[in-house]
Amino acid sequence: MQEQEEETPVFTEESDIAVTVNGHRYEKRVPVRLLLSDFLRHDLHLTGTHIGCEHGVCGCCTVLLNGEAVRSCLMFAVQADGMVVTTIEGMAGTNSDLHPIQQAFQEKHGLQCGFCTPGIIMSVHAMLHENPNPSDEEIRHELSGNICRCTGYQNIVEAVKLAAERLRQQQREVQ
C-alpha cells in the first residue's frame, strides 16, 4: 500500500486543440486521454453520436473525419486537432428538411430504437460518396461495420438504395 501513492495514476495532462465540427470552429483545452466521442458528446453537447461498445466494433459512434467515416470511440480528441469533423447534427440544418439519406431511412422504416442510426447514416454518407450506385451485396458488405439490433438490416438496405437513387438524381440535376 505504501507503493500505492507513488503509483497513483495522474491523468491530468491537458492539451489545446482546434477542431471544426459541423462548420463551427471550436478551440478547447482537453485532457489528452479524452476520447473524441466523449469530446463531441460531453464537451460540445453533440449527443447524436452514440456510444455502443467503446471498442470499435458496433459503429454507433461513427463520424466523418476530413470526410472519412471513423469510429470516434477509438480516437482521442487531441488526435482530431486541426481536422474537420461532421456528426449527425451536421447532416441537415436545424430547420431544414432532412438530408436525402435521413429521409430515405424514414420512408423505408430503416430504424427502430434509433440508437445505432446516426452512426449508420454517417457510414452510408461516406459509402455513397465513394460508390454512388452500390449493389445490394456492396451495401451489405459496407454496412457490416455497423451493428443494428432492431431492424434485421433489410429496411436499412432498402433505405440506402433509395437514398443512393435520390442522390444520383440530385447530382444529375446539378450537372
Binding site: M1, Q4, E5, T8, P9, F11, L34, R41, H42, H45, T47, G48, T49, H50, I51, G52, C53, E54, H55, V57, C58, C60, T87, I88, E89, M91, A92, L98, Q102, F105, Q106, H109, L111, Q112, C113, G114, F115, C116, T117, P118, I121, D136, I139, R140, H141, L143, S144, G145, N146, I147, C148, R149, C150, T151, G152, Y153, Q154, N155, I156, V157
Partner: protein, 797 residues
C-alpha cells in the same frame, strides 16, 4: 365508424427526431453539477471477500463517494422478488453491493462517484479487494451433480424451483404407443445485447423533496413504486422516466439492477445529480442473460404421424439469482405444445443456480427453446415414418374451429394457457407457397449434383402475447386541437409514438401527427406495468382505444349542446366536429375542447374564433353539469385482458451448408406471421425482420462461452458475434390475420415473434442439407466449428 389510420403503413412520427440525432437517451442528458459513477465488479465467479480497501480510491482528487456494502445501511437488502411462485421454494435475489461473498463474475462490489467517468474508473483501479476463490458451478451439468459445489450455501442441490404440470394421462399413452423416441435437446446461453447499454441518471431536489430518475428501462412505473418504498418517499415524490431507450429486448424489464438503487442513493447522499452509464463489457457481465436449458424429452406417436404424448423434463439455468422468479421456464413449459393438438403432456422442470449472470426474459423468453424441442419432434416423426415434414405438422394442427383451445396448463400470468384464435394451416400454406416448398426437392437434387448442399427447414410456433395484468392510457384534447395521449408502457423502438397515435386518431378524427404520445414517464401517466411479453400494442393500445373512444363520446355530447343537436348526429373528421348532413355547423376539435372547459379566460386563436361563432348559450345551472363530469375533453381508461392472446407463425428457409467448413448461408428466408389485426404493417414487418435477425444470431453466431472458472471468455463484440448486414438474408414477410376476440381492436402482440422459431428452423434445414451424413441437430446455438465437429462425428461413425 370506418377506421382510417388503423392498418395504414404511415411513416413513423418519432423518426425525424432520431434521424437528426436529437433523440434523448439517458446518457444524452446533461445536468448542472452532475457527477459520474462507475462500478467495481467481481472478477471471480464465486469467492469470499476477505478484505476490501477503498482508502486510496477515496483519497483520489475528484472522487466524491465510494460505496461498499458496509456503507449502505438499511439499503443493504436483497432486491425484491418480482414474480413469486409457489414452486420457487429457494428464491435468492441480489444485494445492491456484494457482502462477504460474490456469486458471479460481474457482481457489483463497490460504487464510485467522481467528477468524471474517467476519474471514477481511475478510482476503481485503486480499490484493493482480496478474494478467496471458492469452487464454481459453471454449467447446468455441474450444478446438477450430486457432489456439486453450492452456489448459495443454504440452497441444497442448487435447486431453486421444481414444477410439474400434467395434461391428460401421458403415462398410459406411452404404455401402448406404436412409436416412442427419447432424446436430449440442449440450448446454451445468449444475450439480448441492445445497442444502448443500461444507464441511470438521478437527481435529488431537496427543495421539492423530489427524486427524479431517468433510466434506460422497460418498466419505469414499477421502479418508481420501488424507489419510493426504498427511500421512504411518497410515490408522487419520485418520478421515473424512460426516455428514448436504445433497445431492450427484455434485458431492461429486469428491476432492480443494483445501479438503479445505488445511483439515486448517491444523488440523495451528495445532493448532486449522479449519472451511471454501463459500458459494453459491463453489459456482458452484469446485464441479465437467458436461454440455457437441457431437455430430456420422450414422445409417442402413431403410424399416421399423430403426436400422442410428450414427457419433457428439463433443467433451467437461473444464473446466480432468481429476481424474475421462474417466468422463463414456465413459458418454456407452456409453449412446448405449440400449434398442435397435444392432449397428453407431462412437463417437469428444475431450476438450478449457477455462478453466472442472472437469467430473466430475453426476447422470446423461454419460447425458442420450447419450439426447438417440439419442432425437432415433428421433424423426427416425419423422418421415422418417411412422411413430409409439413404434412406431419398439418396432421397435428389445432383446427380453426377448435378455438378457444385450452392447452390445460397454467401460464406465466397465473391464468390459463388458452389460445384465443388462430389458423395455423393457412399460415403453413402461405409459407409453402412463398418458399416454393413443393419444388424444393428438385432444386436440392440439382444442387447436390454440383456438389452443393442445400436444405430446407420449416418451423411453426405459437406465442403467448398480450398478457395482463393491465395497462392504462390518458387521452386529452388540448385547446389548439392537438391530442395528448400518455401511457405507462415504454418504447424502445416499437413505434408506439406512431401506432398509438393511429389508434387515437381514428377515434377523434385527427391526423396521427396531431396526437402527441408520451410513454414511460411516471409523471405523465401514473399507473402501469411495462413493455414486455409482446403486450404493449395489445394492452396499452387497447387502453388508448378505450380512452379515445370515451373522449369521442364526450366530444359528441359537448358539441351536441353547442349545436342544439343530438349527440348521435355529431361527427368527428379532419380535426373538425360537425353536425351530420350540415357540415357548415362545424367547430374545430380544439374549439370544442375550449367549450368543454368553462373557464372565464380562454386564450389563443381557437378561443377568439369561438367567440365569433353563434352557438347555444350556456344552460342554467352549474357551469360543469354533473352529467358532463370533469372539465375538458379528457378520459383515462384501463384494459385488463381475461388472459393472454396467442399469436402464431410459420417460418421457412433454404440454406446452403459447406461441409468442409461448417459455414451456412441463407438462400431464402420466409416468415408468415399472424398477430391478429395489424395496426401498421410496416412496423410489424420491421419487428419480424429484427426478430429473425436476432434468431439467426442466436442460432448460429451468438453463444456466451463461460470457462470452468465461470469467466465469460467472449465478453466483447469482437468475440460475441452479433450478426451484421452481411450475415442476415433478405426476409420475405407475409401475414395471416386472425383477429383476437379478446380485445376490441382484434390485435395480438408481435414483438418477439420473429426470434422464436429460428433455432428450430435452422436445425431442420441443416438436417435436411446434410441428410446423407445422417445428421440430427440436438443443440443450439451451432456455430460453424461445432457444425463441422458434428459432421466429423457423423462421418466417423
Amino acid at each position: 365508424m370506418a377506421t382510417r389510420w388503423f392498418g395504414a403503413s404511415i411513416p413513423r412520427i418519432e423518426d425525424p427526431r432520431l434521424l437528426r440525432g436529437r433523440g434523448t437517451f439517458v446518457d444524452d442528458i446533461d445536468l448542472p453539477e452532475m457527477l459520474h459513477a462507475a462500478a467495481l465488479r467481481s472478477t471471480h465467479a464465486r469467492a469470499r471477500i476477505q478484505s476490501l480497501d477503498t482508502t486510496a480510491a477515496r483519497a483520489l482528487p475528484g472522487v466524491h463517494l465510494v460505496l461498499t456494502a458496509a456503507d449502505l445501511g438499511e439499503l443493504l437488502e436483497p432486491s425484491p422478488l418480482l414474480v413469486p411462485h409457489h414452486a420457487l421454494t429457494q428464491p435468492r435475489t441480489q444485494l445492491p453491493l456484494a457482502l462477504n461473498e460474490v456469486h458471479y463474475v460481474g457482481e457489483a462490489v463497490a460504487f464510485v462517484v467522481a467528477d468524471s467517468r474517467y476519474i471514477a474508473e481511475d478510482a476503481l483501479d485503486l480499490i484493493e479487494v482480496e478474494y478467496e476463490p471458492l469452487p464454481v458451478v459453471h454449467s447446468l451439468e455441474v450444478a446438477e451433480a450430486l457432489d456439486a459445489p453450492l452456489v448459495h450455501a443454504d440452497v441444497p442441490g442448487n435447486v431453486a424451483a421444481h414444477l410439474v404440470q400434467t395434461v391428460g394421462d401421458p403415462d398410459a399413452v406411452f404404455e401402448d404407443a406404436p412409436h416412442v423416441i427419447r432424446e436430449t435437446i440442449v440450448m446454451d446461453r445468449g444475450a439480448a445485447m441492445p445497442m444502448e447499454c443500461r444507464g441511470v441518471l438521478a437527481r435529488w431536489d431537496a427543495h421539492e423533496t423530489m427524486l427524479t430518475c431517468w433510466i434506460s428501462t422497460q418498466g419505469p412505473i414499477p421502479i418508481r413504486n420501488g424507489l419510493a418504498a426504498i427511500f421512504h418517499l411518497p410515490e408522487h415524490k419520485v418520478r421515473v422516466i424512460a426516455p428514448d431507450v436504445g433497445g431492450g429486448f427484455g434485458t431492461k424489464i429486469m428491476l432492480f439492477y443494483p445501479e438503479e438503487i445505488l445511483t439515486p442513493f448517491a444523488a440523495i447522499h451528495l445532493g448532486r445529480p449522479v449519472k451511471w452509464i454501463e459500458d459494453r463489457r459491463e453489459h456482458f457481465i452484469s446485464a441479465n442473460q437467458e436461454r440455457s436449458q437441457i431437455h430430456e424429452v420422450e414422445y409417442a406417436f402413431d403410424d399416421q404421424g399423430i403426436l400422442l404424448a410428450v414427457r419433457d423434463k428439463f433443467l433451467h439455468d437461473a444464473g446466480a439469482y432468481t429476481p424474475y422468479g421462474i417466468i422463463v421456464p414456465i413459458i418454456s413449459a407452456c409453449t412446448l405444445p405449440g400449434p398442435y393438438r397435444l392432449r397428453n403432456y407431462y412437463s417437469e422442470f428444475t431450476v438450478l443456480y449457477t455462478n453466472k449472470v442472472p437469467v430473466s426474459p430475453y426476447r422470446g423468453a423461454g419460447r425458442p427453446h420450447a419450439v426447438f424441442v417440439m419442432e425437432r419432434i415433428m421433424d423426427r416423426i416425419a423422418k421415422e415414418l418417411n412422411l413430409d415434414r409439413a404434412e406431419v405438422r398439418s396432421r397435428n394442427f389445432i383446427q380453426p374451429d377448435e378455438f378457444p383451445w385450452d392447452v390445460g396448463l397454467v401460464y406465466q400470468d397465473g391464468g390459463p394457457t388458452k389460445y384465443d384464435s388462430g389458423n395455423y394451416q393457412a399460415g403453413l400454406d402461405k409459407l409453402k407457397a412463398l418458399l416454393d416448398y413443393d419444388n424444393f426437392s428438385a432444386m436440392q437434387a440439382e444442387a447436390r449434383q454440383q456438389g452443393r448442399y442445400l436444405g430446407i427447414g420449416i418451423s411453426c410456433y405459437v406465442e403467448g402475447t398480450g398478457i395482463g395484468p393491465y395497462e392504462g392510457a390518458q387521452v386529452r384534447v388540448e385547446s389548439d386541437g392537438r391530442v395528448f395521449a400518455s401511457t405507462g408502457v415504454t418504447t424502445q423502438g416499437q413505434a408506439h409514438f406512431t401506432t398509438f397515435a393511429q389508434i387515437v386518431a381514428d377515434q377523434l378524427g385527427v391526423d396521427p401527427k396531431d396526437v402527441l404520445v408520451t410513454t414511460g414517464d411516471s409523471q405523465a401517466f401514473y399507473w402501469g406495468v411495462g413493455t414486455y411479453a409482446s403486450r404493449a400494442a395489445t394492452i396499452a393500445g387497447t387502453a388508448m382505444h378505450l380512452a379515445a373512444a370515451k373522449v369521442r363520446e364526450k366530444t359528441k355530447r359537448v358539441a351536441a349542446d353547442l349545436f342544439e343537436a343530438s349527440p348521435d348526429d355529431i361527427e368527428l373528421a379532419d380535426g373538425k366536429v360537425f353536425v351530420k348532413d350540415a357540415p357548415h355547423r362545424s367547430l374545430t376539435l380544439g374549439q370544442v375542447a375550449i367549450s368543454a372547459n368553462p373557464l372565464r379566460y380562454a386564450y389563443g386563436e381557437n378561443a377568439r374564433k369561438l367567440m365569433s361563432i353563434k352557438l347555444a348559450g350556456p344552460r342554467p345551472g352549474p357551469a360543469l353539469p354533473p352529467e358532463r363530469g370533469a372539465p375538458g375533453l379528457e378520459a383515462s381508461e384501463f384494459y385488463s385482458p381475461p388472459h393472454g392472446s396467442f399469436a402464431s407463425g410459420a417460418h421457412g428457409a433454404i440454406i446452403e451448408v459447406d461441409p468442409k467448413t461448417g459455414m451456412v448461408t441463407f438462400v431464402k428466408y420466409v416468415a408468415v406471421h399472424d398477430c391478429g389485426r395489424v395496426i401498421n404493417p410496416t412496423v410489424v414487418e420491421g419487428q419480424v425482420h429484427g426478430g429473425v435477425a436476432q434468431g439467426i444470431g442466436g442460432a448460429f453466431y451468438e453463444r456466451l462461452v463461460y470457462d470452468n472458472e465461470g469467466q465469460l471468455i467472449n465478453a466483447s463484440f469482437m468475440d460475441y458475434l452479433l450478426p451484421t448486414a452481411a450475415e442476415i438474408p433478405p426476409i420475405t414477410v407475409d401475414h395471416v390475420e386472425t383477429p383476437s376476440p379478446l380485445n376490441p381492436l382484434g390485435v395480438k402482440g408481435a414483438g418477439e415473434a420473429g426470434v422464436i422459431p429460428v433455432p428450430a428452423l435452422f436445425a431442420s434445414a441443416i438436417d435436411d442439407a446434410l441428410s446423407e451424413f445422417g445428421i440430427r441437430v440436438r443443440e443450439m446455438p451451432l456455430h460453424p466449428r461445432r457444425l463441422y465437429e458434428i459432421l466429423r462425428e457423423a462421418k466417423d461413425q
